[in-house]
């Protein structure tokens, strides 16, 4: 179901004015601290009554100031993971998790509960109260609580910020499955481009309360103009590739538009489609096909644009097949190699550079088998 949002709201000294429409899947809400992300999400959840709002999920209209319609929060069926946990202090972790089905009288999904509890690693905490949990534990319970409320829209405000990499790596695939197996749109606030790129179908970029950009992830992420907003280090491109084979040495072979790619084993069977996020920083360029080198992935391509700012670096955009690849090199290298639009180059990408966190499964029918990985 697509999500259509249009919200205007004024605080003293801050004005939010954002409208966007995103297709099914995960929408990443991205923007610096104080740019209005939480305000926007609160307005969608109905916790803030904005001056002007229209929010629609699929054909469910949640709120429309023009019609004077505004569903109260509990009728919106929104699962909201708050930036600050907000667990019920008087209930145990288990009761917190079951709160949604309890108050709404919906059948509790025991299997779902077990799955979520395992994934979040909170099985040992079920009988504790939130007061005795660590910061990360609280946040995990909050995620579980929202997931188990059987929502029709998930709002997640920096859900993983307090978690370590290992835990993130466990939770992200679950969110992907949620995205792929269900029809539930997810609006995901994050500062981490890695998370965003992996999960998001669409990226909405907020700046000082204004919407700067809204579009498909690959496009927003590989827009060299947005690199400063996203953070140079995190700029990169997103490729779509099809799994062709799983090799015995733990590598998976994929076919991208630009050529053959080897990656550490991906939990998607042959024939499945995956999205790969390639950091611009991780791409090396070579004029000739390189020799005995540890990088397995060498994609031939053609330079389409070179953007360089005041710094020592330059952002080189290549076309490899019909995919766009961003490479960030030093100006000096660009000069040494004589790069210019039209130059034929080889993009060298290490297999291990495309880490698990940057790979997202994209095939709905196949995704279920993923559980066994």
């Amino acid at each position: 179901m697509n999500l259509s949002v249009s919200i205007q709201h004024r605080f003293a000294g801050f004005t939010l004015d954002a409208s966007f429409e995103t297709p099914n899947g995960v929408t990443a809400l991205f923007g610096s601290s104080g740019s209005g992300k939480t305000t926007l999400v609160n307005a969608i959840a109905g916790l803030l009554r904005p001056d002007q709002a229209r929010v629609q999920i699929g054909d469910r209209l949640l709120c429309d100031s023009d019609q004077g319609l505004c569903l109260p929060p509990h009728k919106r069926r929104i699962g909201y993971v708050f930036q600050e946990g907000r667990l019920f202090p008087h209930l145990t972790v288990r009761q917190n998790l079951r709160y949604g089905s309890w108050v709404s009288g919906r059948q509790r999904d025991q299997a779902g509960e077990t799955r979520v509890v395992d994934m979040l690693g909170i099985g040992d905490l079920l009988d504790r109260r939130p007061g005795a949990l660590s910061g990360g534990e609280k946040q995990r319970v909050a995620i579980g609580r929202a997931l188990l409320s059987q929502p029709l829209l998930l709002l997640m405000d920096e859900p993983l910020a307090a978690l370590d990499e290992a835990r993130k790596a466990e939770i992200l695939p679950y969110l992907e499955r949620l995205r792929d197996e269900t029809d539930i749109p997810i609006l995901y606030v994050s500062h981490s481009v890695a998370e965003v790129a992996r999960l998001a179908t669409t990226v909405v970029l907020l700046g000082k309360g204004k919407m700067l950009k809204c579009g498909p992830t690959a496009q927003v992420m590989s827009d060299p103009a947005l690199a400063p907003a996203i953070g140079l280090r995190e700029a990169g491109s997103v490729l779509t590739a099809t799994v062709t084979a799983h090799h015995a040495d733990g590598l998976t072979e994929l076919a991208a538009a630009g050529g053959q790619v080897f990656l550490p084993r991906i939990g998607v069977p042959a024939g499945g489609t995956v999205r790969l996020r390639i950091h611009a920083n991780d791409v090396m360029l070579s004029l000739g096909r390189p020799g005995r080198i540890s990088a397995l992935n060498v994609l031939p391509g053609k330079v389409t644009s070179i953007r360089s700012g005041g710094g020592p670096g330059a952002m080189v955009q290549l076309k490899a097949g019909h995919d766009q690849i961003l490479a960030r090199v030093t100006k000096r290298s660009a000069t040494l190699l004589g790069l210019e639009p039209g130059s034929e180059v080889f993009a060298i990408i290490k297999s291990v550079s495309v880490a698990q966190a940057d790979i997202g499964a994209r095939n709905q029918s196949m995704a279920k088998s993923d559980t066994t990985t």
Partner: protein
């Protein structure tokens, strides 16, 4: 027991009954009024607030007198209640309970309201996003969180009811076995020279009962606070 005469035991039992009923009946109402005062804005809010505090401000005799003028047999409300619900307050223990409840009401409302005002609305919002309708939010989140306040209100109401005298005796007089509560009996003893010792005995009983209730409530409240503050 020889410590108290049978009549005095009757007064003790009656006082207990009056205090318990007054507290139990007034409590839900106090919660509701506290909620209105803490959370709603409506026309006449300050008026309601004032009326709630009235029994505190007025000398108890005046309150008793006003009760008599309102809930007496001949009084409009009293007559109506007697006719329709068969509920008679005048010269009955129910009247004593009404007086005690009304005298304790401002104390209950304040305690509960104070607790309500410190509940973090963010938790209630969270409950709403999880699909809880307003009333459920109140029952499952707000109410447990204000439990310490409710307990405090209840014990204040109970203690007040155990000690209330002026409004009670003015409203329902002192009919042994029906409306003679401990404070009335104590008052009577204090009116006659040499009655101090007897009064003291009853005071002791009254204090023991109230202390037991107090300690019980402290235990409950501590538990509730612990739950709410987490740990």
């Amino acid at each position: 027991m020889d410590f108290l005469s049978p009549e005095e035991w009757t007064a003790v039992a009656l006082s207990l009954r009056v205090a318990i009923w007054a507290t139990l009946v007034a409590l839900p109402l106090a919660i509701w009024v506290a909620f209105l005062l803490a959370r709603r804005d409506f026309w006449g809010k300050q008026l309601l607030n004032g009326i709630v505090h009235l029994p505190l401000i007025l000398p108890p005799v005046v309150t008793g007198y006003l009760l008599l003028l309102t809930f007496g047999r001949r009084a409009p409300v009293g007559a109506w209640l007697a006719d329709t619900l068969g509920l008679v307050f005048a010269f009955r223990w129910t009247g004593a309970a009404l007086a005690a409840g009304i005298m304790g009401f401002p104390l209950m409302v304040r305690a509960i309201r104070l607790a309500l005002e410190t509940v973090d609305p963010k938790l209630e919002q969270a409950a709403a996003t999880l699909g809880a309708p307003r009333i459920w939010v109140f029952l499952t989140v707000t109410l447990p969180l204000i439990l310490p306040g409710i307990i405090a209100g209840a014990i204040l109401g109970f203690a007040k009811a155990m000690g209330e005298f002026g409004a009670t005796i003015t409203f329902v007089s002192n009919i042994p076995g029906q409306t003679q509560t401990l404070p009335s009996a104590i008052y009577a003893f204090l009116q006659v020279p040499g009655g101090e010792a007897s009064a003291l005995r009853l005071v002791a009983v009254s204090v023991v009962i109230a202390m037991a209730a107090l300690i019980g409530s402290e235990t409950l409240a501590r538990r509730a606070t612990k739950r709410v503050m987490g740990a």
